[in-house]
Symmetry: C2
Amino acid sequence: MASETEENYIKAIFKITEKNQGAANTNAIAAHLSTSAASVTDMLKRLSSKDYFHYEKYKGVYLTSKGIEMATQLIRKHRLWEVFLVDKLGFSWDQVHDIAEQLEHVDSDELIIKLDAYLGHPKYDPHGDPIPNAEGKFTLRNQVTLQSLEKNEKGTVVGVRENDTPFLQYLNHFNIKLGTKMQVLSHIDYDHSMKVLVDDTVELLLSHKACSNLFIKKTTL
Amino acid sequence: MASETEENYIKAIFKITEKNQGAANTNAIAAHLSTSAASVTDMLKRLSSKDYFHYEKYKGVYLTSKGIEMATQLIRKHRLWEVFLVDKLGFSWDQVHDIAEQLEHVDSDELIIKLDAYLGHPKYDPHGDPIPNAEGKFTLRNQVTLQSLEKNEKGTVVGVRENDTPFLQYLNHFNIKLGTKMQVLSHIDYDHSMKVLVDDTVELLLSHKACSNLFIKKTTL
DNA sequence: AATGATTTTTAGAGTACCCTAAATATTTAT
DNA sequence: ATAAATATTTAGGGTACTCTAAAAATCATT
Ligand SMILES: [Mn+2]
Ligand SMILES: [Mn+2]
Ligand SMILES: [Mn+2]
Ligand SMILES: [Mn+2]
């Protein structure tokens, strides 16, 4: 069985390669895990016998299918636990990540099977991220950033790009959550901020940063 | 924060001193944690600066109030998770211990507060063991072993002394669980086994070993 | 009180993971 | 193409936890 540390390395490599399209390099892994580059090199060398990834000196690392399988199952567990924490225990979406980081390492196949059933086989987590099924398949969705919508276009919030606490709390403050309706009133050229109509009632001015991090499913009329 | 290993040591010391009335000795701790006596001595020496327990060479170890507090909270977490696994996820009582051993180390006060509320503030776990409340108080109960009942006395199963899988599965096999009604039909002198009437319907012959490990709340007529 | 059995500690060493500082390889800018 | 900047690896070492074998202390028996 893989140690918690090993699991965190594999997951980090998966997330970095997913975002970067290409091998995960040492510094990126170090940053992701808040550790030193030297520790990463050390770990990659020790782990490379275990067939989770291909590692070539100075060229970074990418996962084998065994590594992808492991990362996917960890993400599945992480997101299922987040659903549990929000839907059943009543946490808000900005409070669950760190707890799920711990829960995802609990080792029991039966536990995840039963948890998944108990939650009703959810397809998305509280941040709108897809939950891979037991076979590792993600349910993808048509989504675009709020920023990319044209004037007068409408849609519904279905996810957030980054789920860091400050951003989620910023959204809480404006009462924006998954399912919130959005209509673009105007783009402000000066700073790329946007005027939007929220839930058909409230007019808001949202920054470029916020609009680029909000995922919307367009309403097609 | 205490490491998972440290937590397991403190919990082991608590359980041993609770059972033995007196200091926990090295071999007992080693047996409880499936490790070597040498490792235990080493660990006790390293940990003794942290004020969880008093350690005197060759004389064993006993917890300080800080150590007792920590052990109690771990037991609280363990037992609450067991209730969750049985009541919500549908595990049977012989399947939950190992999973709860992992879950008890997840670190979040808010999580336990919310889990406890979600479960309805249970007082007992699936094995009939009392769950300490947030202040560490156990709800004790009048209970005796089935073995100690006299002929014709009646009662209800409220707990098991040891909750090892084989014993629990043995009880499953006879359909004996918490709440099962028991009436003593006779004590067999030869091997101290007992004839009992289960749930007013089934007659069973139970071994001395089983009867000494079943806790009963007597029905007072 | 002495002897033997048992328990505990010490000695010495190994693995997993982490660090800083220095060396080296790679990339970028001139 | 060379120099400078950046990324990565190596060198050397540290902590937490583990082990076996041997030494020492305690306990039990006579
Ligand atoms: Mn998360
Ligand atoms: Mn999430
Ligand atoms: Mn248990
Ligand atoms: Mn229990």
